[in-house]
Symmetry: C2
Subunit: 331 residues, 2 copies
DNA sequence: AGTTAAATTGTGAACAGTCACATATTTTAT
DNA sequence: ATAAAATATGTGACTGTTCACAATTTAACT
């Protein structure tokens, strides 16, 4: 038996003012005398009044909501930090976990719910033009996490190519000349860029870069990929793996064949997830701070929402190589 | 220069019907002749009309939103699955990442936004009475993930006590008699229950259960906890760790002291995260399926939302012991 | 004191839907 | 054919807020 919630007008009656004055009080900023304000405040507390967000939303056409559009589950790291940052900046945070076909209708839905800003986490390279995308979102500002470097889409990202370059150079410096790769999905921004960084560095050093198997970033896929390399009798003394999870899987496959890391094969991963430091041996990897990315993306987006003049730009962070026990110099 | 979106009335004019008829069309179910329906549909498409969700929300007082309230970041596993399940059941999904002090105001906010259902992920044991909580949520149905077993709060959970019992019994069966524990936070539902299950099983077997250090579920905390045990010269041949992450940290600490797993110390973890199978040695652990929990919680909640008569109950799942290389019989 | 300006408060309309009910039309039963 | 029931469509009122503007009160200057 839910008893009807009190409205602006109930409060107004209680406090002997007009509803407009109450509206001013709940929206803080306007001119209203301290005396009246406190009287209204008292009435609000007495009645347990809470503004009806639906009515405010209809009127203002602003929901104070940031929505992230996810095509796939690999991005859990970001979510908490994005939610928390949104909260702290005064926004609600919602998630649309969708398939690629649902993309357009999701954007339409976001517009009809007056979502203030969108964070896009695309897997595959899709629309890569700012104007086109802005048209689809019906003018809702957005920030993409990971994107094509140098594109005109507002984005926050680590320089994946540079990360892979660091990994490759590290192995080269250790004297490795025959190296394999287990890449992430090549049509993903991150998977593709890491692959590119790897390939070009090897190429620039006159090394063979043909030993490469594509994985899907999941741990088991690393296991399968390494088995495939070994089944093909690939000869390598080091392997670059597209992310740390797959590196763990690859390591298991090596052990099962009696190969030791790093004595027989050196491994470099990517991401530096917390487990990597405690793995045996410690995993040499390229560090990205996912929480930072999540926070920056939300801050960037909220900046665009509240400050429409914000110039469109990409925020590119530089990853760092973390050397641990899984790599050693070629003896 | 956003051109005003068309409204019900614009469509009505275009199709030469009343706005009420258009309303019927967009809400599907009502009686409206096929001919009129198609005429209206055509007008909708022609104008690119999309119903204004804010106006619908105000009128219907239903947002079609499931909101999860998170006090802390340890629950990423659930989020994607919950978001996806909500989506599939026709609900939006939002996250409030809050601190304990923000709890009450968050519930009030949820009510004023007409959130349909809440998923609560409490850390510490808080309010444990259904009526009290229902009162706070202003009648919004909710499901808690992890709760006190046997409470009257609707919840989806694994039997943590039973999980710990499995772990303890496994070690006892292997012949271990001197065993240590690195627990999760004792005031958490899961951390506390695992501790309880562990303690009681040891007690029932007449074994000493005093070697116990409390951690915080993070990987580094496992490392620190194990160092504390070793610094105190605790004598044990096996250790039960409150979750897999901490088990990895504990393992590192053991290695640094030259102790081998499982030859010198057996380890049992909890959760069975993907990395556990690929760890060296493979981690014996108690498996919980987080994705399943997330899905069940949302399904349960949506059931309650759409079917107010749903009887309040707890859904308790039984975890499973996964034996790997980190445990061995006492020689 | 009288005028002007500033601060404070109030009024009517609008937002874009849904609901309850009224009316018109068609179908079915007697 | 006529009444009754079912179906299809329309009308007016209402949801709870904000906006633009009007009206009132108070303060500030000559």
């Amino acid at each position: 038996m839910k008893t009807k919630r009190p409205t602006l007008r109930d409060v107004a009656r209680e406090a002997n003012v007009s509803y407009q004055t109450v509206s001013r009080v709940i929206n803080d900023n306007d001119h209203v005398s301290p005396l009246t304000r406190s009287r209204v405040q008292k009435a609000i507390n007495a009645l347990g009044f809470r503004p009806n967000r639906a009515a405010q939303l209809m009127q203002t056409e602003r929901s104070h909501t940031i929505e992230v559009i996810l095509f796939y589950s690999g991005f859990n790291h970001f979510l908490y930090e994005m939610a928390r940052t949104s909260q702290q900046l005064g926004y609600h945070f919602s998630i649309s976990a969708i398939t690629e076909e649902e993309f357009v209708s999701t954007l339409e839905s976001a517009a009809s719910r007056f979502v203030d800003g969108l964070i896009l986490l695309p897997v595959t390279r899709g629309i890569e033009d700012y104007e086109t995308l802005m048209d689809l979102t019906d003018g809702i500002p957005f920030v993409q996490i990971t994107a094509k470097a140098g594109s005109n889409i507002p984005s926050v990202m680590y320089d994946q190519i540079q990360g892979a370059r660091l990994a490759a150079q590290h192995l080269i410096d250790l004297g490795h000349r025959q190296m394999a790769e287990i890449s992430g999905p090549l049509q993903n921004y991150d998977g593709g860029d890491r692959h590119e960084g790897w390939i070009t560095t090897l190429k620039n050093n006159g090394l063979d870069y043909s030993m490469s198997v594509e994985g899907d970033f999941n741990i088991d896929s690393g296991y399968r990929a390494m088995n495939r390399l070994l089944d093909e009798d690939a000869e390598f003394t080091a392997v670059f793996v597209g992310n740390d999870s797959m590196a763990f899987g690859a390591h298991t496959a090596l052990r099962e064949r009696g190969l030791c890391v790093p004595q027989d094969v050196s491994i470099v991963g990517f991401d530096d997830i917390p487990e990597s430091a405690h793995f045996v041996p410690g995993l040499t990897t390229v560090r990205q701070d996912f929480e930072l990315i999540g926070r920056l993306a939300v801050e960037f987006l909220v900046g665009m929402v509240e400050n429409p003049g914000t110039p469109i730009h990409q925020r590119v962070l530089q990853p760092k190589l973390i050397v641990r026990g899984s790599t050693q110099a070629l003896t």
